[in-house]
């Protein structure tokens, strides 16, 4: 069965299966927040003219789950994160709220993450765990665990509707170059790069999946398959594993660099966190 799957994947990608482009629906959340799901590709993205949110590639039923915050199952984890934000943890006797008066003050942060801080590329998960370690004296959270991803979702939600606008020049440049190199590198026994699926063949079917452009602007995303919040790095790992390669670790320098490069491909789309996908 697995062998058959590999053959099918290869055949689908090589014969350029029937096209099924993104649909024409527009994403307005709670009848209020208009999200940009289609816009001109940023200049540094040489091979695409238009970028589309992954939401546009989903069925109407999956799309509907993201249109209303009550219907969105990710929101129960956002609620849990609000409790975590207010809960004292660690030997210093502090909660997030002890220093950060309101989570609303993080508005805009997720739109510009990852970013270089003190010469090091920082993503939101490492930012949160650094604070837990250095300020709260608390145990670090597991990268893709429920607490961490609920908190990343809560902070991301504050920026929902704001355009993705990561910095890719200056100190960020070498990390961005590293991420770009990874994006176009073929991995695994199937010899697939990110670009093979998400740039060359988006809109087509890979077995039963409708390939999107692979934007990460809706992460952490509630995935119906696992019925929980999925981190960006978990998704990267899944993609690379599906190429039948040894994958990088969540939180690795490689995945942080890839996260920056992917964010730069989404510049102009809006933060959708927390999105709902199949």
């Amino acid at each position: 069965m697995k062998k058959l799957a590999i053959i099918t994947v290869t055949v689908f990608l090589s014969i350029k299966a029937a096209s099924a482009d993104p649909d024409n629906d527009s994403l307005i959340i709670n009848d209020d927040i208009q999200l940009v799901t289609e816009t001109a590709a940023p200049i540094h993205l040489e091979n695409l003219d238009t970028i589309y949110s992954g939401w546009r590639f989903r069925t109407d039923e999956t799309q509907a789950l993201q249109v209303d915050d009550f219907d969105n199952p990710a929101m129960v984890f956002v609620d849990k994160a609000i409790d975590l934000f207010n809960t004292i943890d660690g030997i210093e006797g502090k909660a997030c709220v002890s220093c950060h008066e309101s989570v609303a003050q993080f508005r805009g942060l997720s739109a510009i993450m990852p970013k270089v801080i003190d010469g090091e590329l920082v993503v939101l998960e490492s930012f949160i765990n650094d604070h837990r370690d250095q300020v709260m004296g608390a145990e670090p959270w597991k990268w893709s665990g429920e607490k961490m991803q609920s908190m990343v979702a809560l902070i991301g939600l504050q920026s929902r509707g704001m355009p993705v606008n990561v910095k890719i020049d200056g100190e960020a440049r070498p990390y961005w170059e590293q991420g770009k190199e990874m994006y176009y590198t073929r991995f695994g026994q199937l010899q697939l790069s990110c670009a093979n699926c998400h740039e060359d063949n988006y809109g087509k079917m890979i077995r039963a999946d409708h390939l999107s452009q692979g934007h990460a602007n809706g992460f952490p995303t509630y995935r119906l398959k696992q019925a929980k919040l999925i981190s960006r790095h978990n998704r990267f790992r899944g993609c690379i594993r599906d190429t039948r390669a040894e994958t990088f670790a969540e939180g690795s320098d490689e995945f942080k660099a890839l996260e920056l490069y992917l964010a730069s491909r989404s510049i102009g789309l809006t933060v959708e966190t927390p999105a709902v996908r199949q």
Partner: protein
């Protein structure tokens, strides 16, 4: 060897019974949706004013949105006829229900027929069913 709940109780008290008590016997103490015949008792089931909304194709069988409406029903049960246990939900409407309708999200173990049966106030049964195609494969996570 299978024990029914009664046999287990008869088998004796204490350690032996406790260790032999099968999971199915514990589960049997919860309310159960069962199979269609448990609901209708073999009464005839006709078509009528009952609507079941399901996607034609579900992107993931783990979370399939459904909606069922049967004006005047006292209870609606939903069955996924291709699941290991067909019962999905049994919905009873109280005096303060504004409509005999509900929406939920269900698990479907593959392409199959989803069946909704409503028991009306006069004790009669009406039903409708839809096929839902469940796509399997694609990219895991």
């Amino acid at each position: 060897m299978q024990f029914t709940r009664r046999q287990t109780l008869i088998a004796g008290s204490g350690l032996i019974a406790a260790t032999l008590l099968p999971i199915s016997a514990i589960a049997a103490s919860y309310p159960d949706v069962g199979v269609p015949d448990d609901f209708t008792g073999g009464s005839p089931v006709s078509s009528g004013d009952i609507t079941l909304d399901t996607p034609e194709i579900a992107e993931n069988g783990n979370t399939v949105p459904i909606r069922v409406v049967a004006p005047g029903a006292v209870e609606i049960r939903v069955y996924a006829m291709g699941n290991p246990l067909p019962g999905v939900t049994a919905v009873s409407f109280g005096a303060l229900a504004a409509s005999q309708s509900t929406s939920t999200r269900v698990r479907l173990a593959g392409t199959q027929d989803v069946l909704a049966i409503a028991k009306m106030a006069d004790g009669s049964f009406i039903s409708t069913s839809n096929q839902v195609k469940v796509t399997i494969g694609g990219c895991g996570g």
